[in-house]
């Protein structure tokens, strides 16, 4: 609760002071948190490692961008279309992959991503490697800007921050519904014991496809947001491996299979990388991937000390003990 209020209030003093850069860091935290919550569905609950959701991220970005550039379609409608297309493509591609299990399934998701890269770079319909530029068409006033999903000038970082905040909230609510519903039970059953799950009537292939498609939908929505934020969709950018590794790491660090795990993980990891890459600036260590080394260290520490993530620590017991002492 306090975290939500802090999240809502976070960009306001920065706006007053004019430090919009830190709003952008916040935007990236929220975007990656949202992707992490999406990844948690396939990775955390269904227990299948997916290294290819950036394909859905790219599909979302491209669908909305093409609809906007060619047809002038509203970006929010474009987001809806992108989510639907990405989920359908994901379902079609994933069904045959579910013949594979464990590591082999994980590898096959990488293979799908590798196939997607040359398609993105050469398909003329989406401008190949030249990418798509999204023209600025900001709506009038705050509501108009929101409707056009484009924010100009000094309010740009602020606007995208709150849009990402809202999308993360929607994603969390949907993820909670999935977790508490039949799907959540079936996903976790498949994760814990696939044969056991099939023995009580659960079609493991069907539900794996469901889980991965839900993840795909979240990534597609994130991709649309990113495309309009960047005002361009380049294949190498939207298909960047980081769009799956960062949310995955955030989920693992925060607590895999826990609703808020990815949010906590993103709030820890993303600022580390952003602040490191800016403070190192033009120094001798700049651009050498130092942030990745720090990431590696964080992952190693978490994996060694608490592989189930920070949220799995006995916080309830600790706070009660603190309360008794205080």
């Amino acid at each position: 609760m306090i975290g939500v209020l802090l999240g809502l209030a976070y960009p306001i003093p920065l706006q007053v002071a004019g430090y919009t850069y830190f709003q952008t860091v916040g935007f990236l935290v929220l975007l990656n948190a949202m992707l992490g919550v999406g990844w948690n569905v396939i990775g955390g609950w269904a227990g299948q490692f997916d290294f290819g959701p950036q394909v859905s991220f790219a599909i979302g970005a491209y669908v909305a961008a093409i609809l906007f550039v060619h047809l002038g379609c509203n970006p929010w409608l474009g987001m809806l279309a992108g989510v639907v297309v990405a989920m359908l493509v994901c379902a079609l591609v994933t069904y045959p992959l579910t013949r594979l299990r464990g590591h082999y399934f994980a590898i096959s998701t990488v293979a799908v991503w590798m196939i997607a890269q040359p398609i993105g770079a050469t398909w003329e319909f989406i401008n190949g490697s030249r990418g798509l530029f999204i023209p600025m068409q900001t709506g009038q006033g705050a509501l108009g800007a929101l409707a056009s999903l484009q924010f100009a000038g000094r309010t740009k970082a602020l606007g995208y921050y709150y849009v990402a905040f809202a999308l993360l909230a929607v994603t969390l609510v949907l993820a909670r519904l999935v977790e508490r519903g039949k799907l959540g039970f079936y996903f976790r059953a498949i994760r814990d014991d696939q044969e056991g799950a099939e023995g009580i009537g659960i079609d493991s292939r069907l539900y794996k496809v469901c889980a991965r498609s839900i993840t795909a939908g979240v990534f597609a929505a994130g991709g649309v947001l990113y495309g309009f934020w960047a005002l361009a969709v380049f294949p190498d950018q939207v298909l960047d491996l980081n769009w799956s590794t960062l949310p995955t790491m955030a989920t693992v660090v925060g607590g895999i299979g826990r609703l808020w795990g990815p949010v906590l993980g993103a709030a820890i990891l993303i600022p580390i990388s952003q602040i490191m890459s800016t403070t190192l600036g033009t120094g001798p260590l700049a651009g050498r991937g130092i942030d990745l080394i720090v990431y590696g260290l964080v992952i190693v520490v978490i994996a060694a000390l608490r592989p189930t993530g920070i949220l799995s620590l006995p916080w309830g017991r600790w706070t009660r003990r603190l309360a008794r002492r205080g």
Binding site: G181, F185, Y186, I200
Partner: protein, 244 residues
């Protein structure tokens, strides 16, 4: 009335090894059938073929009038055949209650309905006090009970128990036998029980089928089977001769 389950000449090979050889068998609704045989006789393979985890190379399996020879496990389950495993397959990171809820969701999409049904079954299997415990931390006896509760939650007509009593203490075994009896009497299920402990399977079963090297070598009431020379030689040992 046609039998609930019919096997016609079921053969399953693993390379050169014949795990089940021309097994024909019929289970009538309402009976308890014991399936016995030495290690490697093909009992678990037969269960795997019945429940769709493996498919026989030859022969046919008909359950409730439906040919399930090549059906997938989830279809077999939905047709009303449930099973437990020799090595338990509970959902370790879910609580006992959640395990059974998963089974109950086979017939409803509403968590509340499934939950109510799961609570009744935890009570029936004597696990009511353990509902919030993660399945991985239960004792073996409780895990086996939980598997039975989860299987019952799918509302089966036929329940296959694969060594539901092996590895248990005598007290636990007695409780498990009692549970099997109650499943038969109170829920009216047909049961097929794979078991090694003769003292358990003989008084429990109305009929016993003996497998040896994948073949059915005998079939009959417990009293008939223990007097069968071939069974004594293959499995029971000389000390069983002459006992009732």
């Amino acid at each position: 009335m046609a039998p609930l389950l019919e096997l016609h000449g079921v053969t399953k090979r693993f390379g050169g090894l014949v795990a089940n050889k021309d097994v024909s068998l019929a289970l009538e609704a309402g009976e308890i059938v014991g399936l016995i045989g030495p290690n490697g006789a093909g009992k678990t393979t037969l269960f795997n073929c019945l429940t769709g985890y493996m498919h026989p190379d030859e022969g046919r399996i008909v359950f409730g009038g439906v040919d399930i020879t090549r059906a997938r496990p989830e279809r077999v389950s939905r047709l009303g055949m449930a099973r437990t495993w020799q090595l338990v397959r509970t959902f370790g990171r879910m609580t006992a209650l959640e395990n059974v809820v998963c089974g109950a969701l086979a017939h409803t999409n509403r968590i509340g309905v499934a939950r109510a049904r799961a609570l009744r079954l935890l009570d029936f299997t004597g696990l009511a006090s353990r509902e919030d415990v993660p399945a991985a931390t239960l004792t073996l006896a409780d895990k086996k009970r939980l598997e039975i509760a989860r299987a019952l939650a799918t509302e089966p007509r036929l329940l296959l128990l694969d060594e539901a009593m092996s590895g248990l203490t005598p007290t636990e075994t007695a409780a498990a036998v009692d549970l099997v009896r109650r499943i038969h009497a109170e829920l009216g299920l047909t049961l097929c029980v794979v078991e090694h402990v003769m003292e358990v399977v003989m008084p429990l079963s109305g009929r016993v089928v003996v497998l040896d090297y994948g073949e059915k070598i005998a079939e009959g009431t417990p009293a008939e089977v223990v007097r069968n020379e071939q069974v004594i030689k293959a499995y029971l040992g000389a000390h069983y001769r002459g006992r009732d």
